[in-house]
């Protein structure tokens, strides 16, 4: 029997989708050994309200730590608390996400515990004394199977890679106290600027419309925005060439030096398909490419392609998707 700890990532008091992914993956690990899933939820007073959602995805117990100095992400306080809980709770695996927050937190927690850690995990299982994980290396051109020999093992899941499963439990809520004084951290968030609107993030969206230089200009991205609107559940991403030119913010960059996304549907418009871009989207479930050059490398990885000018194809596709969604 092995109990698993899942970290319930939140921002501005809202659970992030990766929190549910962590709980879902933790549930699968715990079920394989007959253990329990405990979720760690840290935030400003009131965050305990989110415990129910964690129970819905399979948490048996939600450990809630509420404190005025924990509303914004407080790396030092959260890492100290997580390490302390993991140690005292005797968990076999601690599941985080390889999100910006997760990648900041994971190594700190592992270092405090003196245990092994792997990020960007696409599969995990417990096998005897080891936790075995799959982890893409060399921008996904090679898949490594690695063994973490320590107990506990700390892992960071690839965001978007875990299909959410509802597995309702009447989660027990337990209040826990911070370790030390959270206000004393040496790194403090002064300001958080949310993106332009409450739009979906590329990491959470089931559909990503990614644009490249083929969209010609920042204004050209209107075509991608319109298609995203037609889907309703889509976000807009971009290539590095586009972000370097300042057409889109770097937070939307997908690829080797940008973000890794795995949506259900990835529509690449006016993107050549350089290997560094593929690194960020090759694990998408369905890939569509629209490019005027029929030799563009993106067509090699795409499930469906249209050879054509984005200025002509995108408005037609946007209209057709609107029509198709209407008939739902």
């Amino acid at each position: 029997m092995a109990n698993i700890l899942a970290f319930a990532e939140q921002r501005s008091g809202e659970l992030r989708k990766v929190a549910l992914e962590n709980v879902t993956a933790a549930r699968a690990l715990a079920d394989a050994t007959g253990g329990e899933v405990h979720a760690l939820l840290v935030g400003a007073p009131g965050i305990a309200q989110k415990a129910e959602q964690l129970g819905k995805h399979g948490a048996d117990v939600v450990l809630v730590c509420e404190h005025d100095a924990l509303g914004d992400y407080n790396a030092e306080a959260v890492a100290a608390l997580a390490a302390d809980r993991i140690k005292s709770g005797g968990y076999r695996v601690a599941v985080f996400s390889t999100s910006a927050q997760g990648r900041d937190l994971l190594p700190r927690v592992a270092a405090k515990l003196g245990v092994g850690v792997v990020t960007d995990v696409t599969e995990a299982r417990i096998e005897g004394d080891a936790v075995i994980v799959k982890h893409p290396i060399n921008i996904g051109k090679v898949i490594a199977t690695a063994s973490i020999a320590s107990t506990p093992a700390v892992i960071g899941l690839r965001p978007g890679n875990t299909t959410l499963v509802e597995n309702p439990k009447a989660a027990k809520v337990e209040q826990v106290q911070p370790v030390g004084d959270p206000s004393a951290a040496r790194v403090k968030v002064k300001e958080m600027k949310q993106g332009a609107s409450a739009k979906l993030d590329i990491g959470d969206a089931p559909v990503v419309i990614a644009g490249g230089r083929g969209l010609k200009s920042a204004e050209g991205f209107k075509l991608a925005e319109d298609l995203a609107d037609a889907f309703g559940n889509a976000a807009v991403g971009a290539t590095r060439a586009v972000c370097d030119d300042g057409w889109r913010p770097h937070s939307e960059q997908i690829g080797q030096t940008g973000r890794v996304v795995s949506p259900d549907l990835y529509i690449a418009v006016g993107i050549s398909g350089a290997i560094q871009h593929l690194a960020g989207m090759r694990t998408s479930r369905t890939i569509v490419a629209i490019n005027k050059d029929k030799e563009a490398p993106i067509f090699k990885i795409a499930d469906y392609g249209i050879v054509g000018d984005v200025a002509e194809v995108l408005p037609a596709l946007t209209a057709a998707v609107r029509e198709a969604r209407k008939s739902h």
Binding site: D72, S99, A100, Q101, R103, D104, L106, P107, R108, A110, V115, G116, V117, T119, D120, P136, I137, N138, I139, K141, V142, I143, A144, T145, A146, S147, R186, V187, K188, K190, M192, K193, Q194, K199, D201, I202, G203, V207, H250, S251, Q253, T257, L265, I275, A279, R282, R285, T286, V288, F299, K300, I301, Y304, I306, V307, G308, V313, L317, A320, V321
Partner: protein
């Protein structure tokens, strides 16, 4: 200000990778190597901070086989002052081992700042910087895309998913550098000549026992061959039909 910058030698990702006979490592024959791009941004950040302060030292450290000395030289030719080579047969996959060796070396060095790139594309873990920070008990900010130093600390911008975070930190600190902070300079001919004379120390890396090891490597399964649905706007109805009936994503 005394600044250490940790750099890694990484293969060009355009290459076709081959798995070695041992099944747990990649065959390096024929690969081209260079400094990890985010690490070059970290070197640039270190140089700019020193230049702005008008004094200080930028020390470049790399862990690995003798070939990593080339990578250190590259940073020296950009303008860093001296190099430290932590010698190991190869760079372990286990980020904790790497961090332990780096922390042991930098522990008593009196560094105000230790800089890393956010991640390297080969092992793709992005954890070494923050582990070093913990082991040394330094403040730590990861994925820094903007930076302003002040007395005894600084303010950094971090890229989050769909948001930006501005954080204040105190020195000494470990920072890992993300895209957007700067553009790394190219070494000048003068820099390349000067780098040849700059000091580089080599000593064994104190790696310790790894807790994470690679059991096997494999090539990802090929995606099933896709199809060109058609040309121009005329192909849209067929694409929509396939997305509805075959891929079931619409």
């Amino acid at each position: 200000m005394k600044i250490a910058v940790c750099v890694k030698r990484v293969p060009d990702m355009d290459a076709r990778f081959r798995i070695s006979a041992d099944g747990t490592s990649l065959d390096e024959a024929g690969l081209k190597f260079d400094i990890n791009e985010p690490d070059a941004w970290a070197v640039e950040a270190g140089l700019q901070l020193k230049e702005k302060a008008g004094q200080g030292e930028v020390v470049v450290l790399s862990l690995g086989p003798p070939a990593v000395q080339e990578t250190i030289r590259k940073a020296l030719s950009m303008g860093a002052d001296r190099g430290i080579h932590l010698a190991a047969d190869r760079v372990p996959f286990d980020g904790f081992s790497i961090a332990r060796a780096i922390a042991a070396e930098l522990k008593d060095g009196g560094y105000d700042l230790i800089l890393f790139g956010k991640m390297s594309p080969d092992s793709s873990n992005g954890i070494v910087g923050a582990i070093v920070a913990e082991l040394l008990d330094y403040a730590c900010v990861t994925a820094v895309s903007g930076l302003e130093m002040a007395d005894g600390g600084g303010t950094a911008k971090r890229e989050l998913e769909g948001a930006q975070e501005f954080v204040e930190f105190t020195l000494p600190a470990v920072l890992t550098v993300d895209e957007g902070l700067n553009t790394a300079r190219y070494p000048s001919l003068k820099g390349i000549m000067a780098a040849k004379k700059k000091p580089m120390e080599s000593k064994p890396a104190q790696l310790g026992e790894p807790m994470v090891t690679i059991k096997s490597l494999e090539m990802p399964p090929d995606r099933p061959p896709g199809k060109i649905v058609g040309e121009g706007a005329a192909a849209v109805p067929e694409l929509v039909r396939l997305l509805q009936t075959e891929a079931k994503v619409l």
